[in-house]
Amino acid sequence: MSVVVEGLTKAYGRRGHALDGLSFTAGVGVNGLLGPNGAGKTTLIRLLATVLTPDGGTMRLLGRDPATERSAIRRRLGYLPQEPGYHRGFTVFEFVDYVAILKEMADRRARHDEVRRVIDAVGLADVSGKKIRALSGGMRRRVGIAQALLGEPELVLLDEPTAGLDPEERLRFRELISRIGENRTVILSTHQIEDVAALCARVVVLKDGRSAFEGTPKELRALAKGRTWLWEKKAGLLSWRTGEGVFRSIGDPPEGARLVEPTIEDAYLLLLGEGALAAAG
C-alpha cells in the first residue's frame, strides 16, 4: 500500500478537530475521497502532501515516514491544491517549468523535455506559449494537473480537480485521471459522486474528520440496496420529489413501497443522513 494512515488527528488552533482519528489505506489506482463541506478532505490531502504536520496518529507514504523523510517523499509526489494559484504573467510553459525547478529538475534540457511531455499529456500543447491569464478556467485546471504529473510521481494528490467544469470538460478529466491512475496511486477528493462511480477503484467517505466508509463503489452502493424506493408520499430518512411526481426516498421502506435499484448517491446520502440522525438522537 502506498498510503497507510492510522488514527490521524489534526486541529486548527483550539477549534474542533478537522481530522479526528482517521484511518485508511490506498494503493495503485484512483482512490476517491468523498465527504460534505468541512469533512476534512483538504486537511487530509494537505497532510498527505507534507504541507501540514499531524497532531497525532501515524502516516506512511510510499513506505516512508513523512516526519523524517519529507524530502524523499516530496520528490515522488504530485499535488494539485483545492485552490491552486498561478503566476498569471507566466506562459503555460514558463509556469510548469517554474514548478519543475521547484521539483529540483536542474538540467535544463531534460527539464524542458519533461515540461513538454506533461503539457502534451493534458492536451495543452497548442497553448503552451499562451499567458495563463488568457486561459479559461478549465484550461487553467489542466495546467494544474500538468504540474502535478512532473517527474512521474508515484503518488498524485488531486483536491477537487473537477469542481466548476462543464460536463464535456469533466469527461475529458475523467479520461485523463483514469490514465494517470493506471500505474500510480491517485487520491482524488471530489463532490462529484458520478466521478467516483466512473473512476475510482476504492472510495473513502469522510465525515466529521473520520472515515464513515471504506471500500469499492459497488460496496458503497450496496449499502442502499433494499432501502431506496419510490412512493406517492414523503417518507423515510430523506426524500425528494422526482420529475415524474413521485417521491424517491431512502431509509427504512414502509409497507407497499416500490423498491428501486439504488445509485451511489443514494448510498452516500444514506450514510451521511444516518450519521446526522444518530448525532441528533
Binding site: V51, R70, S71, P81, E83, P84, V99, L102, E104
Partner: protein
C-alpha cells in the same frame, strides 16, 4: 555546392566523426539537398535522430523569457535561478522602477526645503527593499505557494535568493539617486545598514506572520522612530554611529536566527 555525399561520408557524419567545419558544411548542404538527406536517413542511428528532433523542438518551443529574466541571464545568473526570481512580483521591472521613481520624487520634492531632503531620502530608502522582500514570498504574495510547499526545493533558499535580489535591485537605484541628487558625502548611504536590519528582522518575523504584514509592521516602527527624532527640525539622530552599530547588531542576530531556524521555512 557541386559535390554530393558518398556513403562513407554519410556514415562518418551520422556517427558524429566529422570535425566541426566539415560537419557544418555537410549540414548546410543537407538543408538544400534532398538526395543526400535520403542517403543519410538509413544511416543516422535512431538515438541521434531523436536527439536532433529534440534539439529542434527545444529551439522552437522553448519560450523567450521575460525582460527581467533575460537581464538576469545576461549578468550571469543561471536560468533556473532566474526563473525562481522572475516569479516574484517585487522583482518585476515594473515594481523595481516604481520603487526607484517613488524615491526619486520624494527626493526632488523634499530638496526644495533645506535639510528635509536628506532625512526624507534616508527614511524612505530602507522601506523600498523591506516592502519588496515582504511581497516576494509567502502565501499572500506567491500564487503557487502551496504547490511550492509540497515541492522538494528548499523554501529557505528561495526566500534568501529573492531577498538578496530585492536588496540589490532596490539598493542600486537608491545609491545612484542619493549620490546624484544629494551630494557626494557618505551620509547619503547611511540608510544601507537600516535597510539590512529591517529586512532581516522582517524575514525572521515571517516565521510567524504573513511576510507582507511583517514588512508593514517593521516599516511603521522605523517611520515612528524617524518621526520621533524629527519632531522640530530635521535630524540625523537615527543614523548616528551608535544607531548604525545597533542596525549592524540587529542584522547579525537576525541572520544567525534565520540560519538556525531555516528548517521552519518549509
Amino acid at each position: 555546392m557541386t559535390w554530393h555525399m558518398d556513403g562513407g561520408l554519410a556514415t562518418r557524419y551520422a556517427d558524429g566523426d566529422l570535425d566541426a567545419t566539415l560537419a557544418a558544411s555537410v549540414e548546410a548542404h543537407l538543408l538544400a539537398c534532398a538526395r543526400c538527406r535520403g542517403l543519410l536517413a538509413p544511416q543516422a542511428p535512431r538515438a541521434r535522430l531523436d536527439r536532433l528532433w529534440d534539439e529542434i523542438a527545444e529551439a522552437v518551443d522553448s519560450p523567450v523569457p521575460g525582460p527581467f529574466e533575460r537581464l538576469l541571464r545576461l549578468v550571469g545568473v543561471r536560468d533556473h535561478t532566474a526563473r525562481l526570481l522572475g516569479a516574484a512580483y517585487s522583482l518585476h521591472l515594473s515594481w523595481i522602477s516604481a520603487g526607484a521613481l517613488a524615491l526619486l520624487f520624494a527626493v526632488l520634492a523634499a530638496r526644495e526645503t533645506t535639510g528635509w531632503g536628506l532625512v526624507g531620502f534616508l527614511a524612505l530608502a530602507p522601506i523600498v527593499p523591506v516592502a519588496g522582500v515582504g511581497l516576494a514570498y509567502g502565501r499572500g504574495a506567491d500564487p503557487a505557494y502551496e504547490i511550492g510547499l509540497a515541492a522538494p526545493y528548499s523554501a529557505f533558499k528561495v526566500v534568501l535568493m529573492r531577498a538578496a535580489a530585492v536588496l540589490v535591485t532596490s539598493a542600486l537605484p537608491a545609491l545612484v539617486i542619493g549620490f546624484a541628487l544629494l551630494g557626494q558625502s557618505w551620509t547619503v548611504a547611511a540608510w544601507l545598514l537600516p535597510a539590512l536590519a529591517l529586512t532581516s528582522l522582517s524575514l525572521v518575523l515571517s516565521r510567524w506572520f504573513e511576510p507582507a504584514h511583517c514588512a508593514l509592521a517593521v516599516s511603521i516602527l522605523w517611520l515612528a522612530g524617524i518621526a520621533g527624532t524629527n519632531l522640530r527640525e530635521p535630524s540625523l539622530a537615527m543614523f548616528s554611529t551608535v544607531g548604525q552599530l545597533g542596525y549592524l547588531t540587529i542584522t547579525v542576530v537576525s541572520g544567525v536566527l534565520l540560519v538556525a531556524r531555516r528548517k521552519e521555512f518549509s
